[in-house]
């Protein structure tokens, strides 16, 4: 019976791994193909079934004058905008979430839970509802087509995620830990920064991961709020499309664009292990 259980367990793990890894392998394989290899039926093994070429990759780094799209600038723009907006969202979101978790706010029928819901309702609305307000907002501030404007918009979009995750995290942290810090001689700010915050790093990492993912994959706002000065990676990748879909370049672009998320996932994975999340406080 234990052997059967082990077999089923490994079978499921392998099946799931294939499900997850297969698209990557497919994209890697396709990125090294040319037009004929892609359209001439399914091929898998380089050199035996098709002759690998770097054409798909070189398009990503060639300037427009040579028929490429040069993603290096947009790539770093995306990294800068996503990470800056995520960092600010986490910083502000953590402070807001702590206040919502520990203090009681009441204005008529509006209470803490309603305020938390108000934050997350920003994400429930279809993005198109926010398009014109954001456009006018950035236009008024003179921040259209700028990195600062995008960061500002992304903070508005990402902070609700941070608040939502962190409120739940702080609610599960016993208030006795804050009270103990007060009794030990901290003022409320010291209690937060010296005791609560260091213990909240797992929650902040989870919230940060979500912010980075949502910021990184956004196409809609990057598309409508930028023109020529500033471009982000998703917009640039879409520019690859033409009458003949260049699957090889798109695959290479997909791999390049997913790389930062994979790196982030590997870095934070150790913080997300069970031991680090459970018993973080007690």
């Amino acid at each position: 019976m234990p052997k059967l259980y082990t077999f089923i367990k490994y079978f499921c793990v392998i099946l799931w791994s294939c499900f997850v890894i297969a698209p990557f392998l497919w994209a890697i394989s396709t990125s090294f193909k040319d037009f004929n290899s892609v359209t001439g039926g399914a091929t898998y093994i380089p050199w035996l079934q098709f002759e690998p070429t770097l054409d798909g990759w070189s398009v990503l780094f060639k300037p427009g004058s040579q028929g490429g799209i040069n993603i290096i600038g947009p790539y770093f723009n995306s990294i800068f905008v996503t990470f800056t907006a995520s960092f600010i969202s986490i910083a502000l979101g953590t402070l807001s979430a702590y206040a919502l978790s520990r203090y009681t706010f009441k204005a008529g029928f509006v209470q803490n839970n309603d305020i938390t819901f108000f934050f997350i309702s920003q994400r429930i609305m279809p993005p198109v509802v926010l398009a014109i307000p954001f456009f006018l907002f950035l236009s008024t501030l003179g921040l259209l087509d700028s990195l600062a404007g995008l960061i500002l918009v992304y903070i508005v979009l990402l902070m609700p995620i941070a608040v939502w995750i962190m409120v739940d995290f702080f609610n599960r942290v016993p208030k006795e830990i804050d009270e103990t810090a007060l009794i030990d001689g901290c003022n409320p700010f010291q209690a937060f920064f010296k005791v609560v915050l260091p213990n909240s790093i797992p929650g902040m990492i989870v919230a940060g991961l979500f912010c980075i993912i949502f910021g990184w994959i956004d196409f809609f706002f990057a598309f409508i709020l930028t023109f020529t000065n500033v471009q982000l990676l998703p917009v640039k990748i879409v520019a690859l499309n033409s009458s003949i879909t260049p699957w090889w370049s798109l695959s290479a672009a997909a791999l390049v664009s997913v790389a930062p998320l994979i790196v982030v996932a590997f870095v934070v994975e150790r913080f997300l292990s069970k031991g680090n999340l459970s018993g973080a406080l007690k």
Binding site: P174, E176, I177, E179, T180, A181, L182, I183, D184, G185, C186, N187, Q190, V195, P198, N199, I201, G279, A280, L281, K282
Partner: protein, 357 residues
């Protein structure tokens, strides 16, 4: 260290409601400097609220909190210089054991050498010296609670150490040793210790003074002896002692006699001109004796059960609706069918409307 006084303190968590519910009803209490107290009562009786009022985590709805005659009712927690240990261990998970113990001293800007000396001294008292470099998060629940306790003990100048059922997660043997340790600390440093518990044995063995609470009120405060021998209310009689006090409804016959079922019991309470309705007679099972024959204050009852607890026997006997529990010495010969049980007059307590006359 300080003398702590609660003057006309009352607290409600919903003071603005039309009918506020008071977790703590109006009371005044005084805690002598260097005393060892236990707050005893069932869950929800207001013990923790009282502790939180003293530490400043809760501001009372009414009344004043005085430390050495200084009004601290609205003084913030960190300025009260109080140590408090909660029921479940609260440790700073990202710090080492050493850093946890040093934290209250660092917050108060003690010199490093003083901190080091004090941390090591407390760690030795609590047997934590081998774990000082370990991450606090990785320790067992009782070790974590020792850290919580240690953070309270590192400061010698605290007004009081408030402990809210601190030994709940600690195993019985260590619990016993820690209670003894706390007594030693109290004797050595003259630190006021206030210990909240719902375990009467813990309270009786730890404290010089016990405050019994029920439904937000202090029902009796006194030494363990007072509480045991002269419970001021039937609640205290029932709550303190194992088994609980024998309590029976009775009627006053004359000045010093009550009738208990078909028995007449003499008591030393003067029942003259007292409100004699809703009377109860209470007697500890420890004071009921087994007699060879009938006599004054003796009840002839059927033996239901005799339990041997090693160092004593517990007799359960019944006469009509009277169920009597008597604790006797282990070597006492107890008849198996009928027994004469004597209620000594000096140990009979009479309660009118559940209050001692």
């Amino acid at each position: 260290m300080a003398k702590i006084e609660l003057n006309n303190i009352a607290h409600s968590y919903n003071p603005h409601d039309a009918n506020p519910l008071f977790a703590l009803k109006e009371m005044s209490l005084s805690w002598a400097d260097g005393g060892r107290y236990a707050l005893l009562g069932p869950s929800g009786c207001g013990k923790t609220t009282m502790l939180n009022i003293m530490s400043g985590l809760v501001t009372p709805s009414h009344g004043r909190v005085m430390f050495d005659q200084k009004d601290v009712t609205h003084t913030i927690t960190e300025e009260r210089n109080i140590a408090q240990v909660f029921q479940f261990p609260v440790i700073y998970g990202t710090m080492s054991v050493y850093e946890n113990l040093a934290f209250p001293l660092k917050c108060r800007h003690f010199a490093d050498d003083q901190i080091d000396k004090k941390v090591k001294e407390v760690a030795e008292i609590l047997n934590l010296q081998d774990f000082l470099k370990n991450r606090a998060k990785g320790l067992t629940a009782d070790q974590k609670q020792l850290i919580s306790l240690g953070r309270g003990l590192v400061r010698e100048d605290v007004a009081a150490i408030l402990m809210d059922e601190p030994l709940t997660v600690i195993d019985p043997d260590l619990k016993f040793r820690l209670r003894r340790k706390l007594k030693e600390i109290n004797a050595k440093y003259k630190t006021t210790l206030i210990y909240v518990t719902h375990d009467q044995n813990e309270a009786m063995t730890f404290a010089d003074n016990i405050i019994v609470m029920d439904e937000g009120e202090v029902v009796q405060a006194g030494s363990p002896k007072d509480l045991f021998e002269r419970p001021q209310t039937t609640f205290v009689g029932y709550f303190i002692g194992s088994p609980a006090m024998n309590l029976y409804e009775c009627q006053a016959d004359n000045t010093n006699q009550v009738s208990l079922g078909m028995n007449t019991i003499s008591v030393q309470t003067n029942l003259d001109q007292k409100n004699t309705s809703n009377l109860k007679l209470g007697i500890r099972s420890e004071y009921i004796t087994v007699e060879q024959s009938s006599g004054p204050n003796t009840i002839h009852a059927d033996v239901i059960e005799v339990e041997d607890f090693g160092n004593y026997k517990l007799i359960t006997a019944q006469q009509d609706s009277l169920r009597i529990k008597a604790k006797v010495k282990r070597e006492q010969v107890v008849p198996t069918d009928k027994v004469f049980l004597k209620f000594p007059a000096e140990h009979c307590c009479i309660y009118a409307n559940n209050k001692l006359i």
